[in-house]
């Protein structure tokens, strides 16, 4: 894999390289309804390269054991594999310390953990939590719950017609009562890439904690939490070519120390008596019970894989593919792209004037093209854009220009049916 270390310079080189990588994803090579699968639902979940599947199989076949406190050889190996994954993720995010990496079920659990914790230790009546209009429900509902519990107020940064944060709105809406700013790095329904670094600088002027939902970012662009300057960053393994059921919360040491435990149980304690329990330090404090060990091992392998391919090259290729796809789709009469922010990620949400997104999705499926339809867990975005739902094609490094051609041909078939 070392020959991939040097970025090739042309789109043709990148294209040839990514086409080779495609061979490493077994699930992509199948027929659906008699046609070759064209998988364009990567914002929902990505497929897994063989190295990830093999790492997880190997773990169960050779090292399977419970972690921590085991004195036998398998337990030591399992613990090493689990903690190695933590170090890999820390390096991936450029986190200052692996002890700031908490393994959880995914982004949703990470945001719930931090919202729940901040409701206890920071938020008071009259305080403000600032989110944006383009958040996934998983970055809305936990904060509503935290606000209900603490008496804080939820404020929402508006978005423009093309799906960007309204210029100047974040600065205008941060007040001396703002305690938390929680923002999505890359919108799952619009593709917009938010200026998280600038938002952190504005929020830190008033001492607010900044939480970034990185679920749609990490597989598509290099993320450096120190460069961003956020206080917490969450992502899910399965959108990064890793397994489902495992994800990461990175948060600054001081913040993790301040947050109360989220769940009680084994592995998160120092000393337990019936009178009193003292808690372990982070990350163990937040990892009660046997964690998803094989999941973490798979996630570590996925991160390693992505690093080997190189996020700069992935980003360059996906950007090239997105530009082509955007051009082709915009040429289809009656097709409206929802989310057209400059510099957006490779997500193409659209509607047709004659067909409902659900019917688009079914007809595309008949052509072997897998996309997602609906509100994408962003109902406020649908209302803002004036649509009941959208059809969404989301790209990954293994997609090809030929697949974009198939997508467009299939969309034209939808138009034929719904003339």
């Amino acid at each position: 894999m070392t020959e991939r270390a040097q970025p090739p310079e042309t789109a043709a080189d990148l294209r040839a390289d990514m086409l080779r990588l495609r061979e490493e994803f077994p699930a992509l090579h199948q027929r659906v309804r008699g046609r070759p699968l064209v998988y364009l639902d990567n914002a929902a979940t990505t497929h897994k390269p063989r190295v990830v599947l093999e790492a997880m199989t190997r773990f169960y076949a050779e090292d399977n054991s419970n972690i921590h406190r085991g004195v036998h050889a398998l337990s030591v190996r399992a613990t090493e594999a689990y903690e190695q994954a933590r170090s890999t993720v820390a390096r991936f995010l450029n986190a200052p310390s692996a002890s700031e990496i908490v393994f959880l079920r995914g982004t949703t659990e990470a945001i719930n953990l931090i919202a729940h914790g901040l409701a206890h230790c920071r938020l008071r009546p009259g305080d403000e939590v600032l989110i944006t209009h383009m958040e996934h429900h998983s970055n809305i509902v936990p904060w509503q719950m935290a606000c209900n519990q603490s008496g804080a107020t939820l404020k929402v940064v508006p978005i423009t017609d093309n799906g960007e944060l309204e210029p100047g709105a974040v600065e205008r809406m941060i007040t001396d009562r703002t305690r938390v700013v929680s923002v999505v790095h890359v919108s799952n329904s619009l593709g917009t890439v938010n200026p998280v670094r600038e938002i952190c600088a504005l929020a830190h002027r008033v001492g607010a904690v900044v939480v970034v939902d990185g679920a749609q970012a990490v597989a598509h662009m290099a993320v450096d939490v120190q460069e961003i300057g956020c206080d917490a960053y969450a992502f899910s393994g399965h959108k990064l070519m890793g397994p489902t059921g495992v994800g990461t919360l990175w948060a600054r040491q001081e913040l993790l120390a301040e947050l109360p435990p989220y769940q009680g149980g084994g592995d998160m304690i120092e000393v337990v008596t019936f009178e009193k329990t003292t808690y372990a330090k982070a990350p163990a404090k937040f990892e009660a019970g046997t964690p998803n060990i094989s999941g973490a091992v798979g996630l570590g392998a996925a991160v390693f894989y992505i690093e080997q391919v190189g996020l700069d090259r992935i980003h360059a290729y996906e950007t090239w593919l997105l530009e082509r796809a955007t051009e082709q789709m915009q040429a289809i009469p009656g097709l409206r792209l929802i989310g057209t922010a400059p510099g957006k990620a490779a997500i193409l949400a659209f509607t047709l004037d004659t067909a409902h997104p659900h019917d688009i999705g079914t007809i595309l499926d008949m052509e072997g093209v897998a996309i997602r339809t609906g509100h994408h867990c962003t109902q406020p975005v649908m209302v803002r854009m004036g649509v009941p739902a959208t059809a969404r094609a989301s790209l990954s490094l293994y997609n090809t220009p030929e697949e974009i051609d198939t997508l467009c041909r299939a969309v034209n078939k939808v138009k034929e049916v719904f003339q």
Partner: protein, 148 residues
Amino acid sequence: MSEMQDLYQEIILDHNRKPRNFTIPAHANHTAVGHNPLCGDQITVLVELEGGVIKTIGFQGAGCAISKASASLMTEAVKGRTIDEAKVIFEGFHDMVTGVAGAEPEALGKLAAFAGVCEYPARVKCASLAWHTLQAAITEGPTQVSTE
């Protein structure tokens, strides 16, 4: 194209384009609202019941072709029927779209156009939303239904 035509039969496309009974009956005395949270479909069914008979029926709302055509064809199928007759039709329709063995689409007249839905489990809720909503409208109980 045969797969496409199995699901999107001409009669379905026609009722999607020109839904029948897409009105608010002037003397409606029973109504219910149905939601399909999965895709955002929403439908209101309004019925004028007289002596246990569906005298007039109309619907409002927005959704995909399957849900809209299903609502439209449903209104035609149950108009003038008794509540019990409508329930029997719904049972037959439900068996057909969920692929229950022994279902008899031919007994359902025009509604047989939805027989292809059983091949698309994700779309069964689209086809049955209007029926669940009608059932809520004409029977005792909550007047808000959800397919989830």
